[in-house]
């Protein structure tokens, strides 16, 4: 039987169809499941091997992006989700889903389960949709090179630089204090960074589209199974979704975003 992925949705979730499709293209069976059905125990989370928090505007992003859903999950489903993460099953949070994961506190550390990082208003102070260059290589931009210790299962074996689209108003990654950032970097939990055309960490807008600290676009937990990112890999599962026709010359139909979903499938 193919591995099963649960794509969790609620009012305002809007990337659920394409996220489900991405898992299916990668070889999973995927279901879009409303959070109410998990809360009411109608659906059993243990039937799934992979879990996704897709993008959107959960509950309108009232208060702050992802905050209400984060609280709902933390206080109504906290134990189940933490168990899922601890068991090493892959979890991905994309855009609003990333916001939910950090606000719930399952990122950067599911054991602490408290919020130490956030995604706040873009420096440009507005919602923006654009493509960005990203690197998955474990090079800390500000200090010496740090070896990849985290072993993020989602970003394994990707090329040094890939492109994905971002679309958000609150994507600026910041940490509660310097020590949190130091730990993230030291543990190699920063697995996706915005880079410029030459592959160097992007400090300036629009290559760094939101002003994220250390050009951070995505992080994982120490185990490497829980991954959150602002860019949308589910929007680049076919090469035809890439804005540059030069990228259409690749063999086959698929785009690099799909590789992330395949990585999760290969892992389970």
């Amino acid at each position: 039987m193919n591995p099963r992925a649960i794509v969790l949705r609620t009012a305002g979730t809007n990337c659920d169809y394409e996220t489900k499709k991405a898992f299916e293209l990668a070889g999973a069976e995927a279901d879009r499941v409303h959070v109410n059905r998990l809360i009411s125990d109608e659906i059993d989370l243990s039937a799934y091997q992979i879990m996704a928090f897709p993008g959107g505007f959960s509950y309108g992003d009232d208060i702050a992006s992802g905050k209400i859903l984060a609280n709902e999950i933390k206080y109504k489903l906290g134990d189940q989700i933490r168990e899922f993460a601890r068991a090493g099953k892959p979890i991905i949070g994309i855009c609003n889903g990333f916001q939910v994961l950090v606000k719930m506190g399952i990122l950067p550390d599911e054991l602490e389960f408290s919020q130490t990082t956030t995604l706040t208003y873009n420096d440009s102070d507005r919602f923006e949709a654009r493509w960005v260059n990203l690197t998955t290589s474990q090079i800390s931009n500000f200090r010496s090179q740090i070896k990849n210790k985290a072993n993020c299962i989602w970003t394994k074996d990707l090329p040094g630089v890939i492109q994905l689209p971002v679309a958000h108003g609150e994507g600026k990654f910041v940490t509660a204090d310097r020590s949190v950032m130091q730990k993230l970097e030291a543990n190699g939990q920063v697995v996706l960074r915005y880079v410029d055309a030459k592959g160097r960490p992007a400090l300036k807008y629009p290559q760094n589209p939101n002003g994220s600290a250390n050009s951070i676009a995505g992080i994982c937990n120490r185990q490497g199974n829980v991954f959150g990112l602002m860019p949308h890999p589910e929007r680049y599962v076919f090469k035809y979704q890439h804005p540059s026709r030069l990228r259409w010359d690749r063999e086959g139909d698929f785009g690099w975003g799909l590789a992330m979903f395949k990585n999760a499938l290969n892992f389970v």
Binding site: A11, N14, E18, K21, G60, E128, A129, P243, R245
Partner: protein, 837 residues
């Protein structure tokens, strides 16, 4: 007693009119008399709710009285030939134009006059073209909330464009947000509901740099309106998870007092779900948002002019998440087949939604059951409120519990408020009290035909002299930075144009993800469209194009050619990216000023005639449309009407999205072709506007040649022979070339003397004339022979230069001297700067 009777019995005309005005009914004396008579015959006076229901149902906004009424059209000119000219019959034209049927007779003053009576302008022009074309791929046209055409064997696509002008003038953010919210519900309310795939938005604003002192009293500044409108569409559209992929923005001083906000939505629907039918006994179910006092009189207030006294409570308040939840659950209920009909609460609120669904059967509702945002609403307010995010369904009684569960499971409120009957009556109750009881036949068919006069005075179009210069580099730079040409990136990027993942041809194009150029049309590849029944999967590469055409500047010279140009532009934009020109459908949105002024209505008649003529010539049926008249703002005795503005939106089919083409230049050494004849048509051009000149010869359309060349170009594109394609529109050849170059980070060397032109023209005329039906096409050297063969002999086509590796544009003029030389960076900079807010 919460419901009042309003005495009409025995009232005189001026008293009737006073009642109409005091209650914002927007009913004329004639209409008030018909209402008076109806109730006289019943032997009673109307209730407030009845009068309001009639006013909403009969409003210009809902009934389109002017365009479906009688119009007496007169065209005058100095000579018969000139009238013939005005119909565009020159040697390229064939003779089967409808206006031929009209006789020209000299009147007493020696002027030549022709007359035509329309009994129903829309029916005799726009619908008529669709009827004559009778395309088998049209599934549902002009009768539902949107038009539906065939997509593939299983699915149709629905498309609708609405306007929300008056609300956006008063409250830009809320007006625009509820504009997009409303048109999304039109798509959810077509047939049994389509799943929205993409939004479009088109705005017309006043000059955002307008001097405050010139702002009419009581108006918001154009920049504030622009920012508010963009934010409104952004916050609603993005939260709905529907990508906003196509649009246009036009700036003109004529829109200072009355901006235009067009919002469109396209959706996919299983073919068997494209129709609805209410049965007597079905239950009336309201789902979605609660009812409040917002948006009362929306339909009637948008059917009259604005002034400082206009009540802002007529603007609705939107909440996209409520609509998103409703959409998610509605589509689930649809797929389970739990209801027989659905429509949205738009203008007129429950009164029009319930009234429309029950038109054939009759319906009885109990207003006390309607969930309210807060207490204290009078029954007629509940009935008329245009509170957002509500839809009305007809549910067979046996599905009562099942459908309730679907909505409940995702926290969507759904309330049964009545049932459909077989008595052909509209009965509205509040507790035990009768609030309204009207015959459906009177309500929907009782509105008296109005009759209006329209006039068009034909004047000769004279060429405007432009000064010859030796270098136009600066002119090109200024044009690229001018308001109607400059980059819309500031707007485009605030919209999530890629949510759902379907957007394979995006609004901004080019290999450098930071510095891109403006695409001609968007292409949607609905590979996840699961709510449409079976998922498409990756084996099906069929896609949908969305594009538009609009140019009010041409309408200042002749609305006929404005409309013809808009149609040509919308279609050629679709062809640019790879649409099949033989399967394009159109939507018309007329926004005009005060239709009681005969010259204003006259220009509208001409635009409608052009729609008819061009639709037939291009084989492109109109499938839906909407008009918004009375776009006028009054300050004291001064009335500001907008320039008559026709938006044409086109929906097309791409048979293989892998063959789509973008507009950026690709590879040095490739050949640059121009397709289509360049004519001396600077009238209405952005070049003349920049020089503050008016008049001139407006661009015409030669549909036989144009359509033939579009079909050939489309064959070339689908055979993979074309590397890049961009149409020439505002700013002409020069602007199109510059955009292609800086979007592709490539240069171009162009020789104007090779451009096919009909007569000898100066360099400025060649560079900036906005002749229609022209494309610039990049073709590799090895494909050029095959490309030329595909385009067939005799096409107005030539190689005009090459793609260069040096990132600059050089253009040689007719005398062999260089007339433009500038770097991509410089051109891009002026293009990007103007609206970089």
């Amino acid at each position: 007693m919460e419901t009042k009777e309003i005495r009409l019995n025995g009232l005189k005309d001026d008293e009737l009119l006073k009642i109409s005005r005091d209650n914002v009914l927007s009913l004329s004396v004639v209409e008030m008399r018909v209402v008076q008579k109806y109730f006289e015959d019943l032997g009673r006076d109307p209730t407030d709710a009845e009068l309001e229901t009639i006013a909403q149902t009969w409003s210009e906004h809902c009934k389109h009285k002017t365009l479906t009424g009688v119009i007496e059209y007169t065209e005058t000119a100095d000579s018969a030939e000139r009238i013939a000219d005005s119909n565009g019959r020159n040697k390229d034209f064939e003779s089967n134009y409808t206006l031929n049927a009209i006789r020209y007779t000299p009147n007493k003053k020696g002027k030549c006059v022709k007359r035509k009576i329309y009994n129903n302008l829309l029916k005799e022009t726009i619908f008529e073209a669709t009827r004559k074309l009778n395309k088998p791929w049209c599934i549902s046209v002009f009768k539902d909330n949107a038009g539906v055409i065939e997509f593939d064997d299983e699915n149709g696509i629905a498309f609708k464009v609405e306007t929300h002008n008056h609300p956006s003038a008063l409250e830009p953010y809320g007006g625009a947000a509820t504009g997009i919210g409303g048109v999304i519900r039109d798509i959810l309310g077509v047939g049994l509901g389509a799943k929205p795939l993409a939004n479009t938005d088109v705005f017309c604003f006043g000059d955002p740099h307008l001097d405050w002192k010139k702002l009419p009293e009581g108006m918001l500044h154009p920049k504030r309106i622009a920012k508010g409108v963009v934010s409104g569409v952004r916050d609603y559209g993005n939260r709905m998870g529907i990508p906003t992929v196509n649009g246009a923005v036009w700036f003109d001083d004529g829109f200072v007092s009355n901006p235009l906000v067009y919002c469109g939505t396209m959706g996919i629907i299983p073919r068997e779900k494209a129709f609805k039918k209410v049965e007597p006994g079905d239950l009336v179910l309201v789902v979605g948002g609660r009812t409040g006092r917002d948006g009362i009189h929306g339909a009637t207030f948008s059917s009259t002019k604005l002034d400082q006294e206009t009540d802002v409570s007529a603007v609705q308040i939107g909440n996209p998440i409520v609509e998103k939840k409703m959409m998610d659950t509605l589509l689930r209920a649809r797929d389970k087949g739990f209801y027989r009909a659905v429509t949205d609460c738009g203008a007129g609120g429950l009164s029009s939604a319930v009234g429309e669904l029950g038109e054939e059967t009759g319906v009885k509702v109990n207003l006390e059951k309607v969930p309210l945002k807060y207490e204290g609403l009078k029954p007629w307010e509940i009935w008329l409120s245009e509170a957002q995010e509500r839809m009305v369904l007809a549910v067979p009684p046996e599905n009562r519990d099942k459908i309730s569960k679907v909505f409940e499971s995702e926290n969507v409120e759904a309330t049964f408020i009545g049932e459909f009957t077989d008595d052909k009556k509209l009965t509205v109750m509040y507790n035990r009290e009768i609030v309204a009881e009207l015959d459906m036949e009177f309500l929907h068919g009782g509105v008296p035909k109005v009759s209006n006069a329209a006039e068009w005075r034909v004047t000769e179009e004279k060429k405007v002299k432009v000064q010859n210069k030796s270098d136009y580099t600066k002119d090109l730079e200024s044009l690229l930075g001018s308001l109607n040409i400059c980059s819309r990136e500031w707007i485009i990027r605030q919209y999530d144009h890629e949510v759902q993942g379907h957007t394979v041809v995006k609004p901004m194009q080019g290999p450098d993800i930071v510095n891109q150029g403006p695409g001609d049309a968007a292409v949607i590849w609905p590979y996840t469209a699961e709510a449409s029944g079976k998922g498409q999967g990756s084996s099906n590469y069929k896609g949908i194009t969305l594009s538009c055409g609009l140019n009010p500047e041409y309408g200042k010279i002749d609305a006929y050619w404005m409309a013809a140009s808009a149609i040509d532009e919308a279609i050629r934009n679709a062809v640019c990216v790879g649409a099949d020109p033989e399967k394009i459908a159109l939507l018309d949105n007329f926004c005009w000023g005060n239709p009681y002024k005969k010259e204003i209505l006259g220009s509208l008649v001409r635009a409608a005639e052009a729609c008819h003529d061009m639709a037939l010539k291009y084989g492109a049926p109109f499938i839906s449309g909407k008009d918004s008249l009375h776009n006028e703002y009054a300050v004291g005795n001064r009335h500001y009407s907008i320039p008559g503005t026709l938006l044409i939106s086109a929906i097309g089919i791409v048979n293989d999205i892998r063959k789509t083409v973008t507009m950026c230049l690709k590879k040095p050494g490739n050949l640059v072709y121009v397709i289509g004849m360049t004519r001396n048509e600077l009238g209405g051009s952005q070049f003349l506007k920049l020089g503050k000149k008016t008049g001139g010869v407006v661009p015409k359309v030669y549909p036989e040649t144009a359509f033939r060349q579009m079909k050939a170009l489309s064959r070339a594109i689908s055979s993979g022979l074309v590397e890049a394609c961009h149409d020439c529109s505002e700013g002409g050849l020069a602007v199109a070339l510059a955009e292609m170059a800086f979007a592709g980070n490539r240069g171009a060397e162009i020789d104007l003397s090779r451009v096919p032109s009909q007569e000898k023209m100066s360099d400025a005329e060649m560079l900036f004339s906005e002749s229609n039906s022209r494309f610039i096409v990049e073709v590799s050297a090895e494909n050029s022979a095959e490309f030329e063969k595909t385009m067939t002999a005799g096409a107005d086509m030539a190689v005009i230069g090459r793609v260069a590796s040096k990132r600059e544009i050089t253009v040689k003029g007719s005398k062999g001297r260089r007339v433009i030389k500038g770097s991509n960076d410089a051109f891009r900079k002026s293009w990007k700067r103007t609206l970089a807010w």
